[in-house]
Amino acid sequence: MATKETTQGTDTDAEVRLEDDGSALLEELVRGHDVRTEPLWRIRLRLFRRSFAKNWGLFKDSKMGIVGLIIIAVFGLMAVVHPILMSTVWDPAIYDPVSGYDAVFNEFTVVEDGALTDPLTEIELTQARFDLNPTVDVGDTARIPVQPAPPSLGGEDGNAHVLGTDPQGRDIFSQLLYGARAAFLLGFVAAFTTVFIATTVGSVAAYYGGKIDGFLMRTADLILLMPLLPVLIVLSAVVQINMIMLGIMIGILLGFGGDAIVLKSQALSIKIKSYIDAARVAGGGDSHIIFRHIIPNVIPLSLLYMMFGVTIAIALEATLSFLGLLNIRMSWGIMINTASNQGYLLSGTSYWWLLFPAGLAVSFLAFGFFVVGRGMDEVINPRLRAR
């Protein structure tokens, strides 16, 4: 059956293109008219590219959206760079984010017990005798391995630790880059699951209506009621959760919760459009209509919620890791957790490299995704555009 596509957008005259499926009906329709035929996918691609170009123009207008993209790109770069560095410049024994170890030696001046003024350059006598050897005395310079070590660029006898080491001697910068990888993996899994679940549930509910709709929406309401963090905390106690599982769980909870409800309204507004009736008359079955018509139009809105979903997922993972409830190797949350476990939680500026890089990383990446989401929101909801 021939399907007719009309272009939307800035063209003032509608262009009609017909899918060439070789049917006799098509030949009949076409006879005597000047009509070009081409495959449906080509039509779809052209429409897609056109609306994408228009939407990109609008997106560019919101400076925040661009800033968000830049932030995401920077973190993406970090994630990509890490394995490269690990396999080329960095020695895994030292720089592996989980199992690496480097003893960074610092020079300390030995002082009297109780006369300590600066813990970063001085060491008390008893401690020095314990760490080094019993013969040192006040005034001596002691070379003692330090964990966590402050940032240094290496040099003569040390390796470069741009952001220092953590209490277990592991390079913070490597951990930071690896955390980017982990965050993106989580974000991707959560995003994909959210979109999948929300789109499917929303479209099915809208299309079938009635009891199915009612049941799905009641469930969605119930899930919406539940606060995410406590639920995930409980789940983490029941089951050992790793990154992918976490992504899927978050995706299900978010996707089925508020998102499905919104998407259902969107799907409903499409369902009542006349071209759905036309498709049905032409013989399209239920799944055909759902997949070919409803879903492609619902996807833009679900992409929007996906962005916000990633923001939430990143924050959730970091929080759960910080509380020590997850079963993952390394992430930014784990970095803070390590610092906290070793008693550096309130160290403030003295050991800033233990808390600030990780905390800022989570905040900035979440900020980036959120702001991109807002930029997309302005494209989709024209009311929000700048006055």
């Binding site: 119930l222 539940m226 963090l229 929080t319």
Partner: protein
Amino acid sequence: MFRFLGRRLFQMAFLFIIFLSIVWFLLQLMPGDITDTLIGDPSIPLATRLELAQRLGLDQPLYLQYWTYITNFFKGEMGVSFSRYPQDVSTILWEAIPRTLVLVLTGTLLAYWMGFKSGKLIAWGRGGKTEQGFIIAGIGLQTVFYPWFAIVMLWTFGFFLGWFPIGRFISVGLWQGSGFDATTIFEQLVVTTFIAMMIYVGVRYLIKKAVGNLITEQRLLRVAGVLVLAGLVAYWYFNPARSYVADIVWHTMLPVATLGLVLFGAVMLITRTSMLETLGEDYILTARAKGLPQRVIRDRHAARNALLPVVTSFILALGTVISGAIITEFIFSWPGMGLLFLQGIIVSDIPLVTGALAITGVLTLVAHLVVDVLYTFLDPRIRIS
């Protein structure tokens, strides 16, 4: 009105039972029970363990345990805590609830009050660099990594500047031997605030019914609000426990500020969006044509209508508030329900965790009800006649 309330309560009760059941069954999946903690102790014979299990009803079939729990719950009994044996869960939670309420209610109210004011002002001003700055700040506050943010706040204002205490909810030394009990004082704080709010609501209703015109009504309401607040403050000022209450307040400030700041960002942004939408309405143009002063148009007409979506947004924000409360209590060592919940999870204290979640569910549903009722007060179009 009361039929509506009754219907709602019934709906809520139904939802709550489903919620409680899900929670209970889910938590049964948590590994371990109290008897496991005794395994490690070789001096306790197996027979004692079995007897303990029997006493706690852990040897019953699952559905029977479930039924017992549900029926007991509505009698106010939530079982015995595993980790704080033999204290029962109800007592433990009862102590903790007012502390969490003080934290959450103060933080939320402050955040919504200030957030609404700010959002209203930036939406009204004609854009420019200030607005951009506020928007970025608002987004920044919303997306900052909360545990880290709380740590930074605690360190900066508690440790480094020393303006506030470093966590906890009272300065224990101060209270020892004073004859005052922190839990009682907290309870009184919550109760008096609640009573004050009810008085205000009642007075508000009466004023609206009695006075026929808006101008007098608004003036009277403002006076009433100030009086009620003054009354509350005066009550505590002349109370013998005054300095102890002050101690509590001093400890509350930092966690409330931390929780409040993050919410503030979100509320400000929502208010701004709502105001922008309201400003496009016809009655705003009419208000301008009537020659009303700018402030009146902004506050009496625009903001008042922009308020409605902001109030409903609170429902969606509840989840965030609860999560925020848990983290805040953890970082500031604030001994409320959130902290109990976390501690319970770590030691697999199933009854305690179940109880905490159940109470949270109750409070959530109450919040929903409050918002619904509040909304009918705010929007005359949906008053139940």
